[in-house]
């Protein structure tokens, strides 16, 4: 099909990953977020409080005293940052992407505008990353009420959360682009998300576990985030650079996977 208007206006050449396209998609997320931020923020604040009361005070007062030289409340409180990150990135990415793609047909509308799948996925990841970078700090703030001392290293925690959340957002998008029905998310949460957040060193140390689990946990981005956050609070170590590098590699490779899966899903 052609439009044979020879003097038709021509659009300027467009590049990949244009900030204007990415910003436009993110502005849609912001507009939607304004309608439900209260509920999200409510649970982000209250969830760590409940966990700290249950684990930190419950377990800490009765069974566990100190772990790795830390008060159990401090141990769990700093570890909870990773839990907050995965629950504010992977799950919203999975459900949000599926709902927008399948039920609301939002992506159909966006892709009819000059926006590519790559820009769409990147924008969704960035927005979730920013949100998680913010919400990831709540457990630390709550822990301070329970006695955690502020430290200058804590200022980099939002960045650690951001990079980790990018990877998990991409993971969620790739999952949503791969499943046929929303019920199949159950397999993913049970097989991946639950073990990842339980065996990350949040509630108990990894180094007491069998060797195989310890090695496997080196592949768990949440474990690296947990260690980074604790080191940000109590003193960095040289291995932390490797942990950051791992999180960046995780985010970049999942980004490419998510773009690829979404192209397959959205372009016939």
């Amino acid at each position: 099909m052609k439009d044979e208007a020879s003097r038709a206006p021509r659009a300027p050449h467009m590049r990949r990953l244009e900030p204007a396209a990415i910003g436009g998609v993110m502005s849609r997320e912001v507009a939607n977020f304004r309608t439900f931020w209260k509920a999200t923020t409510f649970s982000s604040v209250l969830e760590p409080v409940i966990y700290l009361l249950a684990f930190g005070l419950g377990l800490g007062a009765t069974l566990v005293d100190r772990v790795d030289g830390l008060d159990y409340v401090e141990y769990v409180g700093t570890g909870m940052v990773a839990t907050a990150v995965i629950f504010s990135s992977a799950l919203p990415a999975m459900f949000g992407t599926f709902v927008k793609e399948r039920f609301q047909r939002t992506y159909d509308a966006i892709l009819a505008a000059p926006v590519d799948v790559e820009e769409l996925v990147t924008a969704e990841m960035l927005w979730i990353g920013l949100r998680s970078g913010f919400y990831g700090c709540f457990p630390l703030l709550v822990s301070m009420l329970f006695g955690l001392d502020p430290a200058p290293g804590m200022l980099v925690v939002p960045f650690f959360c951001f990079f980790t959340a990018l990877g998990f957002a991409a993971f969620g998008i790739a999952v949503a682009a791969s499943v046929a029905k929303i019920d199949q998310f159950n397999y993913v949460t049970t097989l991946f998300i639950t073990p990842l957040f339980l065996v990350a060193g949040t509630f108990f140390p990894i180094d007491q576990l069998p060797k195989g689990v310890q090695i496997a946990s080196l592949l768990n981005p949440l474990h690296h985030l947990v260690e980074l956050v604790r080191d940000a609070c109590f003193g960095f170590e040289s291995t932390d650079l490797l942990r950051v590098a791992f999180l960046v590699v995780f985010a970049v490779s999942l980004w490419r996977l998510a773009v690829n899966r979404m192209e397959k899903r959205l372009i016939d």
Binding site: M1, K2, D3, E4, A5, A8, P9, R10, A11, P12, H13, M14, A20, A21, G23, G24, V25, S27, R28, A31, N32, R34, T35, F36, Q104, R105, T106, D108, A109, I110, L111, A112, A113, P114, V115, D116, L266, I267, D268
Partner: protein, 287 residues
């Protein structure tokens, strides 16, 4: 050409849309209209063939092409929790409009929703949402507009209202490609109609030309019991007249050429219509 596994949805489609007209892509459900629309926005990639939109070759330059196009989808995909003005603002940004605020005001005026700008979309009526959907596709004032079944599933009253909006755009000189399976919609709005079936264009022209070429001047409709209809049909076909089903009746197309009582006296004679052409050519008679 576009295949989905064993199904060929668009097959050897050859279509040019001249600048400044409204071309109606008229065809039954499953004719390949929506797939054609999706190919123009790069959301479906043709397996074979060439597609050019305003000088931009697809799929390579599809982003540039999309910048010049407004798209109004068949299914409402507005953000329902978000306000009317934010729905417009987001798309103004996606279309790289410089002055977003001015584009929003233009869209509100076009959709006649100035008084509802801060209301969430789910508080709007069906007709308002449809007007907003149209305005959203026009935030960047595009020279080309794709309308995919613009009034499907709407009340007759809302449909008429939307038609006048589309007609105003056509008058303004916007090139419009509109897919529809409503014959009346094509008759009212389209300067030219391309009839599509089984992924191909089977006929194209101005509605009046299509009617006179394929259906002649007059059609006679006969309402009678089935036995009588079969008899009338046999008579008319014996004279080489085309007969098509018309719900409970039959329609003898080109009845002005009939002689010797091929058209029974009880028949209702009326001017030939695009519907006659549509049914004759697409074979969508579902007997």
């Amino acid at each position: 050409m576009k295949r989905f596994g064993p199904i060929t949805a668009v097959d050897g489609l050859d279509l040019e849309v001249p600048k400044g007209i409204c071309l109606g892509l008229l065809g039954p459900n499953g004719a390949g209209k929506s797939t054609t629309m999706r190919m123009l926005t790069g959301q479906a990639v043709a397996n074979e063939g060439r597609i050019t939109v305003m000088g931009h070759e697809l799929p390579g330059d599809s982003k540039e092409a999309r910048a010049l196009m407004g798209v109004v989808p068949q299914l409402d995909n507005l953000d329902v929790d978000v306000t009317v003005e934010d729905n417009l603002a987001v798309f103004a940004r996606l279309y790289r409009v410089k002055d977003v605020r001015a584009a929003v005001d233009r869209g509100l005026a076009l959709a006649r929703l100035e008084g509802r700008r801060r209301d969430p979309v789910d508080q709007l009526s069906g007709g308002m949402r449809r007007r907003l959907l149209l305005a959203r596709g026009l935030t960047h004032d595009p020279p080309l507009l794709l309308l995919d079944e613009p009034t499907v599933g709407l009340d007759p009253q809302i449909r008429t209202e939307l038609w006048s909006l589309i007609d105003a755009l056509r008058t303004k000189g916007t090139t419009i490609l509109m897919s529809t399976h409503y014959i009346e919609e094509a008759e009212r709005l389209a300067d030219e109609v391309a009839l599509m079936a089984h992924g191909k264009i089977i006929s194209r022209g101005k509605p009046a030309e299509l009617v006179s070429e394929h259906a002649g001047r007059e059609t006679a409709e006969v309402y009678a019991p089935p036995d009588r209809l079969a008899e009338v049909r046999a008579n008319a076909e014996a004279q080489g007249l085309k007969v098509r089903p018309a719900g409970p009746a039959i329609a003898i197309v080109g009845s002005e050429k009939a002689t010797d009582g091929a058209v029974p006296p009880e028949a209702i004679r009326r001017a030939a219509s695009l519907e006659d052409v549509f049914v004759l050519l697409t074979g969508e008679e579902a007997e």
